[in-house]
Amino acid sequence: MPKLRLKAKYAFTAWAVVVYAFLFLPILVMAVFAFNKPSSVALAAFHGSNICSIPPTQIGNITVWNGFTSCWFSAGLHDPTYIPAILTSLQIAAEAAIIATVLGLCAALALARMKPRFRAPFDSLVYLTLVVPEIVIAVASLIFFVQVRNHFPGFPQLGKATILIGQVVFNASVAMLIIRARFVGMGDTLEEAAYDLGSGPLATFRQITLPRLLPAILAAALLSFTFSFDDYVLPAFTNGTTNTWPIVLYSAVRFGLTPAVNALATIMLGITLTAVIITAVILRRSRGRVAAGQAVTRLPGLVGR
């Protein structure tokens, strides 16, 4: 029997290795190909001095290794389309994170200790915002924004503002669920003690509740930021003429690109990884090892995508 169990263990380990490779090999290949030279055929036809200024239409095949160059990174970081789009995405994501976290925090505080009878309808609405397919929300928001603009000229045109408005719906739900999970988890004994000792509701909130909720609030904001920054479908329909990073990335992937895209994607992967690690460390410090794992793992479960 032990021998069989050992064998099973090896089989599972082997499978896990295969799956991890499946998950990471493409990302790794993409990062490696950020250092890929254009093919010699393409270079022979191209007469510029900087090989990384070769346009997507002339670059030919970039999925075979042709030699090492690091110039795609500077080409990407000076690209006149990508960089403004990235800055736009960063701005929208920051605003969405702040608004969504404030809305989510307020709702989480009230909902956590509300009677289930009153809480259930609100909860259903929250989950609904997470499970309705994004393409449906996107087209519905598009026609909604256009109609509202037609009737109320003060309403913003399709653009940054409408992307932001649409994204806050989803992100507020995410933020609420994260903050509430923490709020419910930490119990109310300390707050009760503060009340007992004569502290008013506002002082209790400022001195007890808020500091203890801070890790969850930060995590919610970071997650909202990430989701908003990565979001393609909703902005693709409500952007008007504004370009965000996912929008230019998508059209590059569909209609032609150079490894400059790989370079920018690699830089961003690095930043995301750093953010994930910081979040994990913050959560871990605040709740201990198991709780941190739970928080990191349950968030995606609550959130969908």
Partner: protein, 295 residues
């Protein structure tokens, strides 16, 4: 001070109920008002307009007359679009089944055989989830490219086919499935397996009768969690299917981008939500319950 005031009162009434009620910190219900208002205006508002559009009549290019015109729904029911619905649901089912087949053993491995590096292994699984969905899909496209090594040297040339779409679904949604399943496997008491095998059960029987049964709720949650967004998928069929293998989501998008037939696109959206509603209701029941019990 407050304590001094309350003391005689506490002594006078039944202690337990009184205390809990008067001291339990509650936040006022109006704190939900901002987000409730926001949801009503910017979520239910668009949904209401979507319904109105789906019942409106298209008049020429881009102008509409509201009414109660169900002809768009009739068009959704024609064989061309029913095929697309069928294909979408079928591909999402295939994607979900593959995800279960690939992901369950990994979750099992982490929960059963790892100890020191368990959280690290989990974190590594989660990392792709936190990175951009588009970038991951693009990365997969590089691997599957017909000029790349996989196609040229191994002869696996599947880009722009349904196989590429299926691989893409599994690749992008795998982490999302592994997490809830891992959570339910984590709660497993492995002594039960020990006991069963001691009493003569074969390992597979023990797995089927104990592990599988106990983790089934997690598997259902995880499966719905990936099935629902897979059905609404827009990016993967476009990038990896190259437009040859469109999902309902892509057809909806086309009605608003190219065809400019917004009433029909709206009717398709409503039909998609209707097709998903059963799964969504089951998921919401599971999700809210899970949260209540603090699982």
């Amino acid at each position: 001070m407050a304590v001094a005031e309350k003391t005689p009162e506490v002594a006078a009434v039944p202690v337990a109920t009184r205390r809990r009620r008067s001291f339990r910190p509650r936040y006022p219900a109006w704190l939900t008002a901002p987000s409730l208002l926001y949801y009503v205006v910017f979520f239910l508002g668009p949904m209401a307009i979507l319904v109105a559009f789906s019942l409106a009549t298209q008049q020429g290019f881009g102008s509409l007359r509201y009414g109660f015109d169900t002809s768009q729904y009739g068009l959704v029911g024609t064989s061309l679009y029913l095929t697309i619905f069928e294909r979408t649901l079928l591909m999402a089912s295939v994607g979900t089944v593959l995800t279960i087949a690939v992901g369950y053993p990994v979750a099992y491995w982490m929960a059963r055989y790892l100890s020191t590096y368990k959280m690290l292994a989990l974190l590594i699984i989660v990392v792709p989830f936190w990175t951009s969905f588009l970038i991951r899909t693009y990365a997969l496209k590089i691997i599957l490219d017909p000029h790349g090594y996989l196609a040229q040297d191994l002869g696996i040339n599947v880009l722009y086919t349904k196989y590429a779409v299926a691989v893409g679904l599994v690749y992008d949604y795998l982490p999302l499935f592994i997490l809830p399943v891992f959570a339910s496997l984590e709660r497993m008491d492995w002594n039960l397996i020990e006991a069963a095998t001691d009493l003569g059960a074969r390992p597979f029987t023990a797995f089927r009768e104990i592990t599988l049964r106990l983790t089934l709720p997690g598997v259902v949650t995880g499966a719905l969690l990936v099935f629902i967004p897979m059905t609404g998928e827009y990016i993967i069929p476009n990038i990896l299917g190259g437009g040859n293998y469109e999902f309902v989501g892509n057809v909806i998008g086309d009605q608003f981008n190219e065809a400019q037939n917004q009433p029909f696109g709206s009717a398709l959206s409503i039909a998609l939500m209707a097709a998903l509603s059963v799964f969504v209701i089951v998921y919401i029941l599971f999700a809210t319950k899970e949260e209540q019990f603090g699982a």
